[in-house]
Amino acid sequence: MPSTASEPGEVAPGRHSEPKRAATYRFSFSWEGPYGHAVRLVERHARRGVVLDLGCGYAAVGEVLRDAGWQYVGGDRDVDAVADIVSRGLEGHVVDLAMGEGLAGSLADLIAGRRVAAVMMLDIIEHLPDPPAVLRELAELSRSLADAQGAPILVTSIPNVAHFDLGAKLVAGRWDVTPSGLLDRTHLQMFTEQRVGAELGRFGWGECGRDDVIMEHSDQWFPVDHPFLVEGGLVHDHFRSLRSAADPNMTVNQFVRAYRLVELPPVSDGQSPLPARDVHPADLEVTGVPFLSVLTRTEARRPSMLTEALTCLAAQSFEDFEVIVLVGGGVPGAVEASVAVVRTFEEGFAARVRVEEVHSDSRAASLNAGLSLARARYVAFLDEDDLVTADWAARFAEGAARAPGKLVRSVSFARHVRHRAREEEALGARPVTLTKPLGEFAERFDALSALAADATPISSFAVPRSLITELHFGFDEELASCAEWDFLLRAASVVGVEDTGHVTSIRLRWEDEHAAATPVPPEVPAGEYLRMFAGLDARPLLLPPGSATGIACLAGNDGLVSARAAHQAELDRALDELRGALAVTQETLRVELDRLHAETAQAEELANQVARLEHRALEAEWARDELLASEFWRLTAPLRALVTFLRRDRRRAGP
């Protein structure tokens, strides 16, 4: 029922009837309320003819439509309400929307061949036990009433349970059912814009006009001192900032929309061609798409650079990713050149690479174009002049598995490169020469330091695509060189950061134009800084736990600084002691290991000696066997027999 006319706790008379409820609300017409908005939609989108107002209650819009030239026909289950309508000179019928199948036929009988301009259902659907059954019947009715001038439109008003007031309180655990309003206790269905679109779309109702009722404060704006409802309160403002990014409906009280029937794809089995209306969590799981979309920008001015970036990607140990090469810059033939580069790779990898032309004049705009093309669960960025290790994508996947939905950050290195000298160029050397590594990017993300300097180049982090799909995150195209930094700070402030701690990317810095010591290249105009921070300042900024101490120290809280220093010194001392103990243990183990090695060597030597002796014994045995088998041994046999005999004889004789 309309929530515009009632205060919480007030039982207002209603305009329609509905099963299981005795009283019918009686609302008066207002151009500011949903009735006025609905009539305006009829005026804008409907032809002349009958306006069939279903669940009309006491027909608040009856006279207005009649006076404006439409034939008003009200339908309601409440006999008293219908009698009231008729008594006012309007046409009224008893109609039970819950009858389900057969409703279309009943309504057609009631229309009796007249031309129907529109069917209205104002604040009715949320009271129905089975809205799809009614919507299907209405679609059937509308199709049956279509003529050469078209078919009747459908005009609905539906309360928005995703109004900001409701959502903010729900975070705090409040769900205030009221006698009327957004959470009218007689509502059987809850609608957000997404559900409205899905339910109507299933049966071919396509939106053709909207005139939503906007209410900064809904009937759910109570208690007014609720911490999350306090205007200017940080939580309130932060929620509003996020919510306004998600969709434009946080102040919509009722979705007042007009729909026309659109063609549905033909189906053979008579079932609805559209998916079931309920959201199944499993349906939302990302399946059939890769884990990662990699966006690679190029202007195709240096094909060898693109080749090397793609080589790094082709060599990844984790292969569940797609690559989108974003060709910008407007260089003639750039797309063809980029496609040619991709085709030089083996088919398995090349099949995972898409080349897309982006018509944008800034890096940020190219990236935004890329974000809209990405399909995977996470998005990472690899410019053509950056290089990555084989575990680059794998580390992102590991981080996302540990902390699903967080921004995943690895460590990046910078390397200085220089342009090739002219004489070297003539001899065909590569355009750049690497000179030295610079470990200038921080190992861990620090939210406070990140405000002072960008230590997370774009090739070293991956963001969940839900930031784009749910909150419409993107790069600020007003910013030039700060756009990526700004994007990182905003994303980190919403979803937090999961560090992988691994070095996985290498950024090139040109020696002849670098100014690596400064956080942002000096050519960035001061205005860019101001613009970026103005954007950050426009809303509350969430910082991770531990930031209070960090900020207090930065802000000059000397007491805390010295207390921390003392605590740090204490920890350092304890650490030193531990290190000392560790060193002693290590040394002991080393000595023990040496002893064991020595013993092992000794044992090996002894074993060798034994083996040698055994071998000698064996050799002696072989020699004896050879001797036994020899001719000499055979010839001297009688002699040995004589000697043996004499010895025996001597033993018998005694010493």
Binding site: S304, T307, E308, T311, C312, A314, A315, S317, T344, F345, E346, G348, F349, L387, V388, T389, A390, D391, V411, F413, R420, A421, E423, E424, L427, G428, A429, R430, T433, L434, T435, K436, P437, L438, G439, E443, H502, V503, T504, S505, I506, R590, L593
Partner: protein, 316 residues
């Protein structure tokens, strides 16, 4: 000019999927190599140093089948040899090269050997660029540029001349490899590339770094920006240093590293030093360059280079 190429790699355990990726990269690189010289032929040889089981087991049946399929689809022959034991990198490469040279199959003949690590991924134009450089008869070895972490060794920006070539990915004239006797097997895993490069240069040929030929080398980086050495690398690099110092007759260098290993080295470093001393005592060290090649001390000194444990000046 049509060139017959033989890409040789030696595996000992490791990630089979990585090896398969490497083979796929060879198929793409072969296309460009083939485009550049009509009638060019390519063979891939895998020398398997794995044993029957354990982390260094031989290539599994499924992986071997897949390897064969990948190459067959690209019209590339596979010569797979399971040695049944770990011969070491150089010795295994030598056996693979000998198989090509000694094969009665005329298709096994090759002009150029490409010696590649199994943890690499060749950029598509890599082979074509390397082979083109070898068209110059003065060049004995052409070396690819490693990405994402470039080797810090110096090279001449104009000519590409470099003191030695990494075994990560090098192309060498097959005749040169044979004439030089291939790798010295005394180097088990590291240093054999430096040794071969020096012998090629001592024979009057050039060793050339080819920046345009990029090869991805899978290395995990430490926070210092340099790769983390494996335990095997810890042992083998010290042994390789000592062997190179011995072959070049640089007792100062040998003493320096024996001393370092004893005083500052890890247990593995000390064991490597011990192994060198043992070989020395038993008289089984490889011949010096002077003895082996019949060169003067000055000639050897003009090519060999030792500074802070490295064999060339580094750019960084």
């Amino acid at each position: 000019m049509a060139t017959a190429l033989r890409v040789q790699t030696v595996r000992y355990g490791g990630d089979d999927r990585r090896l398969l990726r490497m083979l796929r990269s060879v198929t793409a690189a072969a296309r460009q190599f083939g485009d550049g010289a009509a009638g060019s032929a390519l063979t891939v040889a895998i020398g398997d140093c794995g044993g029957p089981e354990g982390p260094g087991a031989v290539l599994g049946g499924a992986a071997l089948t897949e390897a064969r399929e990948i190459l067959t689809r690209a019209g590339i022959l596979l010569d797979y040899v399971a040695f049944g034991r770990n011969l070491g990198h150089g010795a295994a490469q030598n056996v693979l090269a000998e198989r090509a040279a000694g094969s009665p199959d005329p298709g096994a003949d090759c002009d150029v050997l490409v010696l590649a690590n199994p943890d690499t991924y060749l950029s598509p134009n890599c082979l074509a660029k390397l082979v083109r450089v070898l068209d110059d008869d003065s060049v004995g070895i052409a070396e690819a540029r490693q990405i994402p972490l470039e080797h810090p060794r110096t090279f001449d920006l104009a000519t590409g001349d470099t003191p030695w070539a990494s075994g990560c990915l090098m192309a060498i004239q097959a005749a040169v490899f044979e004439a030089r006797g291939g790798f010295e097997p005394a180097f088990f895993l590291y240093g054999d590339d430096v040794d071969l490069s020096w012998r090629v240069r001592l024979a009057g040929l050039r060793v050339v770094h080819v920046p345009e030929a990029a090869v991805f080398h899978d290395k995990e980086l430490m926070v210092t920006g340099f790769p983390a050495p494996s335990l095997e690398e810890e042992y083998q690099t010290v042994l390789a240093r000592l062997l190179l110092g011995h072959r070049a007759e640089r007792p100062d260098f040998v003493e320096q590293w024996l001393g370092w290993a004893g005083l500052q080295g890890s247990e593995l470093h000390r064991r490597a030093a011990g192994e060198f001393v043992r070989r020395q005592a038993e008289g089984v060290l490889p011949a010096t360059y002077r003895e082996a090649l019949g060169l003067s001390k000055d000639a050897v000194a003009s090519v060999t280079f030792f500074h802070e444990g490295e064999y060339a000046e580094h750019r960084f």
